[in-house]
């Protein structure tokens, strides 16, 4: 087994653009659920919308980079309103049902063959990120240190992806220490109490839904910059990975989503490396490499179970807060 390679790959996941995308999506979900108490089980849909709005703007309309990004913003804001207007006045569980359902609807819509010339149906879309790499200011070549040696374009997408993650984290920090943050946290605790104090709860829930959704949509854009858009990526599994990441890091914590995403991807990479290595050297002869790929996720599920049993507040969560569980 090539331990150097296994560890190197795992370390690479720490700063990979995919990790950044998942972290950003989890930051959005953390605004929804962690801070405001909105049960959004369709974060994958926001990522899908960001990805498709960006790719379609470029491929179908020939839009420049900034217009494509704005399109991703606008589409997710619109989607948040469509989800929120009918449901945010109702009890919390309605939003959960509507978000699950609409995420699946979105996935089927982009997969349908009658939209093939726009969405590419099951094949998805590719070759839309030229505009992003064109503005790469980094010098050509491969550079870096240790396991972190990448080409200029690979560095560029990492820099931008993590830059956005840090900006989003700063934004969440500024908001959650403010009176605005106090209101949304209070909404999480008891909506009626907040109404009784003269706050427009519906409006705050909508603002939180839009804000977290925009982060989800941007995450969708970062996610596809180094790869193609594949509708199969946006299943319910994606939403549950984002939930796993948020709970792993600790709901309603500032750095929880980032650390959660890093741990999630490093562990997936390590288990894959080790399992493949064991199959290679013949120790694990009874499973194939594709089965090993599935076993990784079984292990993730197991880890999540252990987490909620032994550290339910997540890594950064405050045990004291959780002891009055709601």
């Amino acid at each position: 087994m090539d331990w150097g390679n296994i560890l190197g790959n795992a370390a690479g996941e720490l700063i990979s653009p995919t990790t950044a995308a998942y972290a950003l999506a989890a930051i959005g979900l953390n605004i929804h659920f962690g801070y405001t108490g909105l049960l959004n089980f369709g974060q994958a849909a926001f990522m899908l919308i960001g990805a498709y709005a960006f790719a379609i703007s470029v491929l179908t309309f020939g839009a420049p980079l900034w217009v494509a990004v704005l399109a991703a913003f606008a589409a997710s804001i619109l989607f948040a309103f469509v989800l929120g207007i009918p449901t945010l006045r109702l009890r919390a569980d309605y939003l959960a049902i509507v978000t699950i359902a609409s995420a699946e609807i979105m996935r089927f819509v982009v997969t349908t063959t009658s939209l093939t010339n726009v969405t590419g149906a099951a094949n998805g879309l590719s070759n839309f990120s030229g505009g992003f790499y064109d503005i790469n200011p980094l010098p050509e070549g491969r550079y870096g240190f240790g396991p972190f040696v990448y080409s200029a374009d690979q560095w560029w997408v990492r820099l931008v992806g993590w830059g956005i993650v840090l900006l989003a984290t700063l934004l969440v920090f500024l908001l959650m220490r403010s009176p605005w943050g106090r209101v949304v946290k209070a909404v999480r605790e008891d909506e009626d109490a907040v109404r009784a104090l003269g706050k427009n709860v519906y409006s705050y829930k909508m603002q939180a839904l839009v804000l977290g959704g925009v982060f989800g949509s941007l995450a969708g854009v970062i996610f596809i910059l180094p790869r193609a858009v594949q509708p199969a990526n946006y299943g319910t599994a994606l939403t549950f990975f984002i939930w796993t990441i948020m709970l792993l890091g600790g709901a309603a914590t500032l750095f929880g989503p980032i650390i959660g995403a890093m741990i999630f991807w490093v562990v997936l990479s390590l288990t894959q490396g080790i399992l493949y290595g064991l199959i290679d050297v013949g120790i694990l002869s009874f499973i194939s490499t594709s089965q090993a790929g599935q076993i990784r996720f079984i292990l993730v599920g197991l880890a999540l179970m252990l987490l909620v049993i032994f550290r339910p507040q997540g890594i950064f969560g405050n045990k004291k807060e959780l002891s009055f569980s709601v």
Binding site: L175, R195, L197, G198
Partner: protein, 327 residues
């Protein structure tokens, strides 16, 4: 049902002569007009399936006074609170607060207009600290806007002001030691206090308290009664639901009695207890059921004691003695 409404229609007229009172415009009785009402409600009904929880023909709450709303369990007091404050929708009815119609207005707007309520089942915001709970009550905060929230300089001063105010109130309610604790760590009685203090942070003109003293220890109750009287002297109107007749007699200027959704009696506290409609309300609602023995005695006993005390004409002594026994 029908004999209740008939006894309600002729309040004190049968036994005593027609009562008058400075707060009232005309004769005293259920649904009587006030000289200076802050709330006027008309034809408010609310049905839950076949059950009519609230059926109020006309009621007025006097301004600048402390009004008690009493009645047996299930009389519809909380439901009436919910309707007036926009937390529930009536089947029929209109009402106005300070001359402004509030029927169909959403709960947060009712609160903003100056009519603020607390809940019988306390709603403390558990994973916020006691101080944060209080600060939430302050109105028109600049930092509650999503964009201004980002710039601390815009709301820092205001935050300091409301923090000072919150700390004063917390001290009044003996919660200052707890201000940095999570509200979820408070005891049941402390949560009642917090909710009341938080409602006061909104600077209400009418504060509606649903059983504010349930679970608060008698010593603190005494001092809180003082605070409620202070609210009155600051010009606030108070409407509270309470089962404890000492408290009702001690601080209220006016008492409204509900039973089976209707207003069955009204009057100053010392008079209303003698009203046959009140005894009927407490006894009549349950007296032929088993439950009557369990949830009947306290108010009925109190009503009778009050009447007895009247006759003996040593009302004040009695009340003080009783207050001490309780403590």
């Amino acid at each position: 049902m029908s004999d209740h409404s008939s006894s309600a229609a002729t309040p004190a007229g049968t036994a005593t002569s027609v009562l008058e009172h400075p707060l009232v415009d005309g004769p005293v009785g259920p649904g009587c007009r006030k000289t200076d009402p802050i709330v006027i409600a008309d034809g408010v009904t609310r049905q839950f399936g076949g059950l009519t929880a609230v059926d109020v023909e006309h009621v007025e709450i006097p301004r600048g006074q402390i009004t008690a709303l009493i009645g047996p369990n299930g009389a519809g007091k909380t439901t009436l609170f919910n309707l007036l404050t926009g937390f529930d929708k009536p089947n029929t009815g209109t009402w106005q607060f300070d001359g402004k119609s509030l029927a169909g207005v959403s709960a947060y707007k009712v609160s903003r207009s100056g009519m603020v309520r607390t809940f019988q089942l306390t709603k403390s915001l558990g994973r916020l600290t006691v101080l944060q709970n209080m600060l939430l009550g302050a109105q028109k905060q600049k930092g509650e806007n999503l964009f201004r929230a980002l710039f601390r300089a815009l709301w820092k001063g205001e935050e300091a002001d409301i923090t000072t105010k919150a700390e004063e109130l917390l001290a009044r309610f003996k919660l200052d030691e707890k201000s940095e604790d999570y509200a979820a760590s408070l005891s049941g009685g402390q949560r009642k206090l917090l909710e009341m203090a938080r409602a006061l942070m909104t600077n209400p003109r009418l504060v509606m308290l649903d059983e504010p003293m349930a679970g608060v220890n008698p010593a603190l109750t005494q001092s809180l009664l003082g605070h409620i009287k202070d609210l009155k002297s600051e010009g606030m109107s108070v409407l509270f639901v309470e089962h404890d007749m000492h408290m009702v007699r001690h601080i209220s200027d006016w008492v409204i009695v509900m039973a089976e959704g209707k207003i069955v009696a009204e009057g100053p506290p010392e008079k209303v207890m003698e009203d046959p409609a009140v005894i009927d309300a407490y006894l009549g609602a349950h007296h032929d059921t088993d439950l009557g023995d369990i949830d009947g005695p306290n108010p009925v006993e109190e009503a009778e004691k009050a009447a007895a005390a009247r006759h003996a004409d040593e009302h004040d002594d009695h009340e003080q003695k009783h207050g001490k026994d309780e403590a």
